[in-house]
C-alpha cells in the first residue's frame, strides 16, 4: 500500500515549475510540465547534481550538471544508460500534491 506525503500545491508548482522536497529522507524534485506534476529523485544518477536546479525543456527535465535529459514520466535519459527513479504523484481535490516513494510506473 502506497504511503502518501503531502509536499506542495498545484498552484505553487504552476508558478515555480520545479521544487525540491524531502519525502521520508529521500530528496525528491517536483516538476510541473505541460499541465502535469511529476516527481523524480532529485539526485541525478549520473553525477549526483540536483535535478531540481535544472531546466525544463520541451517536456524533458535537463540536469544542470551535464545536460542529461530525462523523460519525467519514465525517468529514462536520452541516449544514456540507467534510469532516474520516478515517484507516484497524487493530486487532491484542493490541489494538494502528494508523493509516494513507490515508482510512478508501479502505481499508475
Amino acid at each position: 500500500m502506497a504511503q502518501w506525503h503531502e509536499v506542495a500545491t498545484v498552484a505553487d508548482l504552476k508558478v515555480r515549475k520545479k521544487k525540491a522536497v524531502v519525502v521520508d529522507g529521500t530528496p525528491v524534485a517536483l516538476f510541473y510540465i505541460n499541465g502535469k506534476v511529476y516527481a523524480l529523485n532529485d539526485i541525478c544518477i549520473h553525477e549526483q547534481r540536483n535535478l531540481s536546479k535544472g531546466a525544463i525543456l520541451f517536456g524533458k527535465v535537463v540536469c544542470p550538471g551535464h545536460q542529461w535529459k530525462f523523460d519525467p514520466e519514465t525517468g529514462e535519459p536520452d541516449d544514456q544508460d540507467g534510469c532516474q527513479p520516478t515517484y507516484a504523484v497524487q493530486i487532491g481535490e484542493s490541489g494538494a500534491v502528494s508523493v509516494s516513494l513507490e515508482s510512478r510506473a508501479v502505481v499508475s
Partner: protein, 405 residues
Amino acid sequence: MTAVRTVAIVGGGQAASVATRTLRRRGYDGSIVIFGDEPHRPYQRPPLSKEYLAEGDGSGLFLLPEDWTATHDVDVHTSARVMALDAGAGRLVLEDGTTAQADAILLATGGRPRRLPGVEGSPVHYLRTKADADSLRASIGPGARVVIVGAGFIGAEVASSALSLGADVTVIEAAGVPLQRVLGEQLGAVCAGIQRDANVDLRTGVAVNEVREEGENVVVDTSDGPIVGDVAVVAIGILPNQELAEASGLVVGNGIHVDEYCRTSVPSVYAAGDVANQLHPLLGVRLRVEHFDNASKQAAVAANNILGRHTRSEDPHWFWSDQFGVNLQCVGHPSDSDEVILRGDLESRDFTAFFLHEGKIRAAFSMNRGDDIAVARELITMGASVPSATLADTDMDLFDALEMA
C-alpha cells in the same frame, strides 16, 4: 545503394562506443568490429583528469561492457593497431598482418598530447589514456610538488585532482589568464580566481623554456625563473591522429576533413570525434573540436548516415569542466562576439555570460548555472535575439524568452 552489412570502427573511445550503440539502437543487425590500439576495452576519457585521477574509481569508466557486446554481437579488438587503410576498397590492415573488410568504416582515432620538444623522462607526464592517468595518480601523494604546464581544462582539472590528493600545485600558463583565447580577459580572470582561491600557485604570462630532470627533481625553467617539483604534467592540447587517413589519400588538414554528415572525401568512410575536422552548418566554417559531447554527436550522425538515414551534425558545441568544486559549462562559440551580457554574479561564481554577435546569441559560458546552458543551447540554434535586460535579469525566466523567440 546496397545495404551495409559490415561496419569497421578504427579507434576505441567515446565515438566508437556511441556509433556502436546507435547502429544497434537503429536496428542494424550486420557485423560491427572495433579496433582499438589500447589494451583496454572502450572507456570514456573525461573522468581521467577528474574523478578517476582524484579517487581512482574506474567503475564508471568502461563504455561497452562485455555482457553488452556479447548480447549485441559486437566484436571488440584491443591492442589492435590499424596500420593501413585502403579506403576505396574498404580494407584495413592490422599490425599483425591480418586484414579486415567492411562496407563502411568509421575513423575515430582521436588525438595524442602535444609534447614539449625535448621533454621526456619519468617525472614528466602527459594525460590522454587510462595508463597515463594510472601512472600520474601513482606519482601524486600528499606533499608532492606537482608542476603543471598549461592552465586549460585538462591542466586545471589535473590541478584540482592533485590538490585533493594533498599535493602542492603550481600551474604555468603562457597567456595572461586561463582560457583567454576562448573566454576573454574578464572571464579568464574568474577562472584564475577559482584556482588561486583553492591554493594553486598559478603563474600566468609565463613561458616555459625547458623541462629537465635534476636528480630526484624535475625542473621547469620558465621566463619567471626555475620551478622545482617532483612531478611535471604537460597539458598543452592534443594533435589529431590523422596519419592513417592521410596515408590512404583522404583529405586531411588539422584532422580528417568531413562534411556535416561526417563523411570523409572517400565514400563509405566516415570520421568522428577529436580527429574529425567538420564543416559546421551553423557556423559556416571548419572546426576540429576536442570535446566529449562533439564526439558523441558526430558518432551518432555518422552511424545514422552509414545506415542511410540522412542526419546532419549541426548542434552548437557544448562542453563542461568540473574543477575546484565549480561546474563550468560552455555552449556555442564565444569567439568573434561583439557583446557580452552577464547574468548572475561573477564574485560568487554563479553566473552565465552570453556572447552576442550583432544582437544574436552565439555562445554562453556558465559557472554553476547549467540550467541556463540548456536554454542557451536552444537560443543559439535558433539564432535568437533576446533583449539584454532579459538575459541580465536572473528574475526573468529564460525559458519565457525561448518561447517568445
